[in-house]
């Protein structure tokens, strides 16, 4: 109840999971009735169909770049979604709730240029300034401006090109990743690992019992999306090695 009161007073933003235009419109109308603005519509794969209504309401849209066809409600998802929403004045970002795709959102942003001709600088905002605006944290992050947090990335080339590499990552003025350092440390770590394994082998201790299995790839990078339970367990698809994609 307290949380709902905060929503009604516009003290708490609602970021709503959504796919189809009918449900998007329904939610917008409910919020209109209460005079409350939606923070962002997430996934929003049919946002392009009602981008005018989203813009009028003031809702922003955070979409996947080009995922489609994995279930019926995304069979109309198109990679032009971002461009169409953007042109209607919706603040657009590209997201992913997938642990692998999440590490190359820069490649995803380039798809807004390809599909619908979003200008390069605007496409870059889809994965920098716009998500910050959607989360109402753009006072601190999302662009390189005097006074903002020192969060930045150094790229080997065009940040939107799949052939570019991230060279350094800085957060709050601290370097968290440096490719050269990472490459240097690999040799040391491989050596330490080999030493540990040798020690284990020399110890004569029992090996891993046959009943113990190696973890699968997807188990190593756990994530949980409360909004995304749709009973797809039995339909883990063909080449889908990850546990979910919605």
């Amino acid at each position: 109840m307290e949380a709902l009161v905060e929503v009604l007073r516009q003290q708490r933003w609602v970021h709503c999971h959504s796919y189809r235009q009918d449900e998007i419109l329904a939610l917008i109308r409910v919020f209109d009735d209460f005079g409350v603005t939606i923070g962002s519509l997430q996934h929003i794969l049919e946002g392009y169909k009602v981008a005018d209504a989203m813009a009028r309401h003031g809702a922003t849209g955070s979409s996947f770049a080009d995922w489609w066809a994995y279930k019926i409600e995304v069979f109309d998802a198109i990679p032009y979604n971002g461009a169409l929403m953007h042109r209607q004045g919706v603040i657009v970002s590209f997201n992913s709730d997938d642990q692998e795709l999440g590490r190359h959102l820069n490649h995803e942003a380039a798809k807004a240029i390809k599909y619908g001709g979003v200008p390069r600088e605007e496409a870059l905002k889809f994965v920098t300034l716009n998500p910050a605006r959607q989360l109402r944290i753009d006072r601190w992050v999302g662009s390189l401006e005097v006074g903002k947090d020192a969060d930045f990335v150094i790229w080997s080339g065009d940040p939107l090109a799949p052939r570019s590499r991230c060279e350094q990552t800085w957060i709050d003025g601290r370097k968290y990743f440096d490719r050269e350092e990472d490459l240097r440390l690999r040799a040391t770590q491989a050596q330490m690992r080999a030493t540990l394994i040798r020690k284990v082998l020399q110890s004569g201790q029992a090996m891993q019992p046959a009943s113990e299995r190696q973890p699968e790839e997807w188990e190593l990078w756990p994530r949980h999306d409360e909004a995304c339970h749709d009973g797809d367990e039995e339909h883990a698809g063909h080449f889908i090695q990850d546990h979910k994609h919605d």
Partner: protein
């Protein structure tokens, strides 16, 4: 009727019996008509892939085949001349492992037709299950992917894959090679086998039992051949019949394996059984590079958009994999199959581009999605590069296909002009119209 043709009919009927009750879905793009007169692409930047780039080049194709390519080429009389004014010509991109045509919507079982029941299905042919009207096919070819391997999966022996051209009225029109390889899902070494269902690869029999079942299948196929030779009236068996060309080395086996224990065990098995092996997946292939090189076992890299498999692995293990294989001299090509299958085939060139960022020369990356898959899958006499005598399966682009913003402008498959519209462009235009009506 020949034995082969009887067998083929029997197999077709078997597959049709399991065919999916399709949703009422059919894309509206009309397959291209056969080429009726020579076409000359002039003032083009030609990327033959098999040789150096030709600036200001001319490429002529006739009756579906490339008849001339170079800077100094005579244009045949009556040819349609297309002035490309510096635009680029590439051979069709080739996805070397997919479920394209065999699936429509991942979560709707009735639209999935890439798997038969049971563990041993060497007689299953993916070709006959390919749906030419799949909405996913025009979406893939819109980005220059004009060829794909449609592969069955599941069980131990999943069946035979087919190289398809991504245009045609029927699967018979589309098939470039109906029987390309037999697919084997290598059992995971851990006790208990691979996990089925959520998160796991398609369930297959547990490690040692699975390998034993495969060994028995090949032994039975040999015994069957001996029995048939000794007594022609010995009853025919579609499964063992279909393993004969595998045993004779005519049909390669594509073995799906990622972990080094799986890879080494599969290689040993293939050698003992005398099979011609292609590895797919290959996450740990760099660790087995010497072995793969020595035995000339090519690798279909299961995508660069992958996470590290083990906690201690480098963050860029999957990104750098193609470059490592290249340096080690292992033959390879790149698939975009990694995780999302048919609906994401259009992103194949970006898997290759990522490999460039992590050390693979750009020319090699382009070959890894054109010429190398054609060579590895045994269809390089027809496709994979722009060379005289090969199929006119090519596309025109305004830039490098490895760069995301590049637009594919037109395409031909065996000289037939391809309709580059697709479901996404149709919906885009529809909703562009909605907003233009409001102005």
């Amino acid at each position: 009727m020949s034995h082969a043709s009887i067998l083929r009919r029997v197999l077709t009927v078997m597959l049709l019996a399991g065919a999916w009750t399709r949703c009422a879905l059919a894309h509206p793009q009309i397959p291209g008509p056969p080429q009726t007169r020579p076409i000359a692409l002039v003032h083009a930047v030609l990327h033959p892939v098999s040789g150096p780039v030709i600036d200001q080049g001319t490429l002529v194709f006739d009756q579906g085949r490339i008849v001339a390519i170079g800077r100094d080429v005579a244009i045949p009389e009556g040819a349609e001349v297309i002035d490309l004014a510096g635009q680029h010509v590439y051979p069709g991109l080739f996805e070397p492992l997919s479920d394209l045509g065999l699936i429509e919507i991942n979560s709707i079982r009735a639209t999935i037709d890439y798997q038969e029941t049971g563990q041993l299905n060497p007689n299953v042919r993916a070709a006959v299950a390919v749906n030419p009207d799949s909405e996913l096919i025009p979406v893939a070819r819109s980005n220059g992917v004009l060829l794909a391997l449609a592969a069955p999966t599941g069980g131990l022996m999943s069946g035979r894959s087919a190289v398809i051209q991504l245009d045609g009225w029927t699967w018979e029109d589309m098939v470039l090679r109906g029987d390309t390889a037999l697919h084997i899902q290598w059992p995971a070494p851990a006790a208990g086998g691979t996990r089925g269902g959520r998160g796991g690869q398609p369930a297959s029999a547990a490690g040692p039992q699975g390998i034993e079942a495969l060994r028995r299948a090949f032994a039975d196929a040999r015994a069957y051949r001996a029995a048939r030779q000794a007594d022609p009236s010995f009853p025919r068996d579609a499964r063992w019949e279909s393993l004969q060309d595998v045993l004779e080395g005519k049909l390669p086996v594509i073995i799906h394996a990622d972990q080094w224990r799986q890879i080494t065990s599969a290689v040993a098995f293939a050698r003992q059984e005398g099979l011609r092996m292609i590895l797919v997946g290959g996450y740990d292939a760099p660790q087995c590079a010497a072995l793969l090189k020595e035995l000339d076992i090519p690798v279909i890299v299961g995508g660069t958009y992958r996470l590290p498999r083990r906690r201690g692995d480098a963050y860029d293990a999957a990104y750098a994999l193609p470059a490592e294989l290249h340096r080690a001299g292992v033959r390879f090509c790149i698939s975009g199959r990694a995780r999302f299958g048919a609906s994401q085939v259009r992103n194949l060139p970006y898997h290759a581009a990522v490999a460039v960022g992590f050390g693979l020369p750009a020319e090699e990356a382009l070959k890894a999605i054109t010429l190398y898959p054609a060579q590895i899958l045994g269809v390089a006499d027809r496709v994979g590069s722009l060379e005289v005598g090969k199929d006119a399966t090519l596309f025109i682009a305004d830039g490098d296909p490895l760069d995301t913003p590049t637009q594919v402008l037109s395409a031909w498959i065996r000289g037939r002009k391809v309709d580059l519209n697709d479901r996404h462009k149709t919906l885009y235009r529809k909703y562009e119209a909605k907003y233009s009506q409001q102005r």
